[in-house]
């Protein structure tokens, strides 16, 4: 048998075409917005060394001719789009999408930094810092949703953990105790979510909302009653940066990824662990089975409720780490509502990353980057209101969710109450 049977899925074909158009559109954006407002002879300088004492090996800065680089980027994007339209990249198309998005960002940076210099490493370092709580929230969402429980209470869990880490850390005089207590507290909220959603069969959005309100009210209550009045209750100390021995010497990657504090490394560890657990262990298979088709999983003897309880509990604890990072990992104090929607951005990153740990981490990095960059825009005198940059993550998520560019498939049984028969 030599005939190759190709099954053409009209949906896939439509999406492949849409993707090709998107690449071309991105190329045109580079041309229309950036090329046309640059003039020949402009140079953009990117600093590639952190502006502080580091272990990293210093390397020279990069200077790009703005106009030529922008033309090249626009052409590459359009060319990739044409190739996608004509014959398609097949399975590599998501990777190409990432590449073109990267080109767009680079083009934007080159344009923004014309006639100026921009410390790229500084931006990337901050981006990783800002991405960390988002990524932890996203991992929490993945843990819960892969087992079929929607967790919109991540925001509340982070907020609670942040408050507990500040209060207990200060009371006990130990950041480690604070970390432990914080993770336990958000785990308790996870348990509450699980009990309400599984045992009492409450709609998961409603139980999540209740937990969010409870956490917002509870943390603000304690903050207003105790923390603002007694400053020594809100001074837990901070995990200091710890450069990884050899890796931190690598230029660019070293200072960005391997000169961080404990919680960032915990995130990296969790990423790998979760990836391996989810796709290569029995627990992961069961989790995914419970999230996709609980009835079938139950028939095979998997305890659906137990899997969900475990996952949501773990999810709560991971979300708590994100909250701890905001206090013990950056500003070592708790402020009311300090999460400011990071839990929800985490959910967005989870969707953008298609419920996959590394995908979600990539999405978090992009969101962290836009967040960092919108703060830099005024300094660079970019004629775009920074608020639009702030909207970008949410808009991207809505576009991804709508399936225009690459479809985001949620676990099939997500949000549904499972009744044992």
């Amino acid at each position: 048998m030599s005939a190759v049977v190709t099954i053409v899925d009209p949906e896939a074909k439509r999406r492949s075409r849409a993707l090709g158009m998107t690449f071309i559109a991105m190329g045109l954006i580079i041309y229309v917005f950036f090329v046309r407002s640059s003039s020949p002879g402009q140079l953009a300088t990117f600093g590639l060394n952190p502006g502080r004492q580091t272990a990293a090996t210093p390397i020279p800065n990069v200077t790009l001719p703005v106009l030529a680089s922008l033309y090249a980027m626009a052409l590459v994007a359009v060319a990739l789009g044409v190739v996608q339209l004509v014959r398609g990249f097949g399975r590599a198309q998501d990777l190409v999408l990432g590449l073109v998005a990267g080109l767009l960002v680079l083009g934007f940076l080159t344009w923004a930094a014309r006639d100026q210099s921009l410390n790229l490493i500084g931006i990337l370092e901050t981006a990783v810092q800002r991405a960390t709580p988002i990524a932890l929230a996203a991992l929490s969402g993945i843990l819960c949703e892969r087992s079929g429980i929607v967790n919109i209470a991540i925001e509340g869990m982070m907020l609670t953990a942040a408050m507990v880490s500040a209060l207990v850390g200060s009371l006990a005089g130990s950041m480690w105790v604070g970390l432990l207590a914080a993770v336990l507290s958000s785990g308790a909220l996870g348990a509450l979510l699980a009990v309400l959603s599984i045992r009492y069969k409450v709609n998961q959005i409603i139980s999540g909302t209740a937990i969010n309100i409870l956490a917002t009210g509870g943390t603000s209550f304690i903050s207003a009653k105790f923390l603002t009045q007694y400053q020594h209750l809100n001074n837990p100390g901070k995990f200091s940066n710890w450069p990884v021995p050899v890796l931190s010497r690598i230029p660019i990657l070293g200072p960005v990824f391997f000169e961080n504090n404990l919680i960032v490394y915990l995130l990296f560890g969790l990423l790998i662990v979760l990836h391996v657990m989810l796709y290569h262990t029995r627990w992961g298979l069961r989790t995914r089975a419970v999230g996709e088709h609980p009835r079938a999983a139950d028939t095979l003897g998997i305890d659906v409720f137990r899997m969900r309880y475990i996952n949501v509990l773990l999810g709560g604890m991971v979300a708590g780490l994100g909250g701890v990072f905001l206090v013990l990992g950056s500003v070592p104090r708790f402020d009311e509502l300090m999460t400011s929607g990071k839990g929800f951005i985490g959910l967005a990153a989870m969707i953008f990353g298609k419920w996959d740990p590394f995908g979600a981490f990539g999405a978090s990095l992009i969101f962290g980057f836009t967040d960092t960059f919108q703060a830099k825009m005024q300094i660079l005198r970019v004629p775009i209101p920074s608020q639009f940059m702030r909207m970008a993550p949410y808009l991207i998520t809505m576009i991804v969710l709508a399936g225009v560019v690459g479809r985001a498939e949620a676990p099939a049984a997500e949000g549904q109450v499972y009744e044992k028969q």
Binding site: V150, I205, G218, Q387, A402
Partner: protein
């Protein structure tokens, strides 16, 4: 076999459950007030500390003010003290020397808190002190809550009596709390209706906050940019702008759900943040008040303001009646019209609705437009009735509170109005509770969260009060809402 006693029983339970949920939440809130009260904590823990003025070492010393404030034996206004066998009440300024005593004098009579005294706080030496402190914490808090939300009954009676005698000067002060409660309830009614309408149509509108913002933006724009119009043209236009703005903002997630299946919960949350950023940009740019540096919009014209009925600082305005009318309209639309029937059918069972020939797209977009429109009207109402301009910090957490309202009101307009009155009253009263009893206003959020949990999981309440469920086959009414949403 007559079904009526069974039905009556069920109806009784439908009334009883929310009531028990509220009472249980208030009891738990009371416990929270007790355990977080510094005087109670002081009475129950042993922290020997020296009173010093000025204090230098926070580990071993506390200031006189703090000691006075913390100590259960502290003398404050309102206390009864014993002077030469007479029970006197401590007041700020003494009017009646036979029953009252000044605060300074009372403190002088009980000088045990002077500098240099060591305070031991132990519960087991004096359990009565701790219990009294606990009782006082709850009593002071809830009395303040009541007086801040309804008013002081004696003051109100006196004011009414004076008014009947022809002296209306006391009315304003006595009825100010009640007016504030109704004012606070108004946006709650509207946003609660918004979420309830969405629930009925199977849409989970978690974005009332963003729609409220956008409604505020559009209405404030119409309110300040159109000039020279008469009130009866300008005011309806301004309110309509709020409805349209919020409605369009809300219908985007509805359309996305119908066309692409993108879940409206995520999309409405995303649109909330987009709305905040949009408003931040508008108020810092195109809509910024000329000549100002703060991110606020210009004031709206006088012709775009909702009328107030009483002078002075009574902020009660026509928006309250507008909200009630909207509740009636929503009731009529949902239960008396074909459109409402279609919306409810889509909410209850989308596939059945589709087989019956109802357009899902039209219903979803319409439901979200109406829902968003109500939330937008809430924003317009606050603009035209209360603040007259758009500040950057316009939000007050209506997005999540309104879900609680819809749940508590069982997604029925009348229920939502009652729930909104309760929440508005609680919130207005909490302001006074914060100033009188030093209890942060956030306790209301905690109460609200508990009410949601108890309403959504009635088994918890049944377990606490040992209420038996009649028949297991009959699902509680929330199940309808929830099923609609999940489908």
């Amino acid at each position: 076999m007559s079904r009526s006693p069974h039905n009556r029983d069920e109806r009784l339970q439908a009334l009883l459950m929310p009531l028990l949920a509220i009472v249980t939440a208030l009891i738990l809130g009371g416990l929270l007030i007790i355990v977080s009260d510094l005087q109670v904590i002081a009475a129950f823990t042993r922290i020997p500390r020296q009173v010093a003025v000025p204090f230098t070492n926070p580990e071993t010393e506390i200031s006189l003010e703090e000691a006075l404030w913390r100590h259960p034996n502290e003398v404050v206004i309102g206390d009864a003290v014993e002077v030469k066998g007479k029970q006197l009440r401590v007041v700020g300024d003494v009017r009646d020397a036979t029953t009252q005593i000044g605060l300074d004098e009372a403190r002088a009579l009980y000088p045990e808190l002077g500098p240099g005294v060591t305070i031991h706080f132990t519960f087991f030496q004096k359990p009565a002190v701790g219990l009294r402190a606990a009782w006082r914490a709850v009593r002071v808090a809830y009395v303040a809550l009541f007086e801040g939300s309804i008013g002081n009954p004696r003051q109100m009676a006196q004011a009414l009596a004076a008014w009947l005698r022809g002296d209306p000067s006391l009315l304003n002060r006595a009825f100010y709390p009640l007016s504030e409660s109704l004012v606070t309830s108004t946006p709650y009614i509207l946003t609660g209706l918004a979420v309830a309408l969405g629930f009925r149509a199977g849409m989970f509108n978690i974005g009332a906050e963003g729609q409220y913002f956008v409604g505020g933006l559009t209405s404030v724009f119409v309110g300040y940019s159109l000039k020279g119009l008469p009130l009866w043209v300008h005011l309806p236009l301004t309110l309509l702008a709020g409805i349209v703005g919020g409605g369009l903002w809300g219908s985007i997630p509805g359309w996305l759900k119908a066309k692409t299946g993108g879940h409206e919960v995520i999309n409405t949350i995303m649109m909330n943040y987009i709305a905040f950023a949009l408003s931040d940009w508008l108020l810092n740019g195109p809509m910024m008040r000329p000549g100002g540096f703060r991110p606020i919009s210009p004031e709206i014209e006088v012709s775009a303001r909702l009328p107030r009925f009483f002078g002075g600082d009574i902020r009660f305005h026509a928006g309250f009646f507008l909200a009630l009318v909207m509740a009636l309209l929503v009731y009529w639309l949902l239960f008396k019209t074909t459109i409402g029937f279609e919306l409810r059918t889509v909410g209850a069972n989308p596939s059945a609705a589709r087989y019956a020939g109802i357009s899902l797209t039209r219903s979803m977009v319409l439901a979200m437009f109406l829902s968003g429109g109500l939330a937008g009207l809430a924003g317009a109402n606050d603009i035209t009735g209360l603040i007259y301009y758009m500040p950057n910090a316009f939000s007050a957490g209506y997005g999540f509170d309104s879900i609680a309202l819809a749940l508590l009101g069982r997604s029925h307009p009348l229920g939502v109005v009652l729930a909104a009155l309760l929440f508005g009253t609680l919130r207005a009263g909490a302001t006074r509770m914060q100033s009188v009893a030093q209890i942060p206003i956030d306790i209301i959020s905690i109460l609200q969260a508990m009410i949601i949990i108890f309403i959504a999981a009635p088994e918890i309440i049944r377990a606490i009060y040992r209420i038996k469920q009649r028949r297991a086959q009959e699902q509680p009414p929330e199940a309808d809402i929830v099923e609609g949403v999940q489908a």
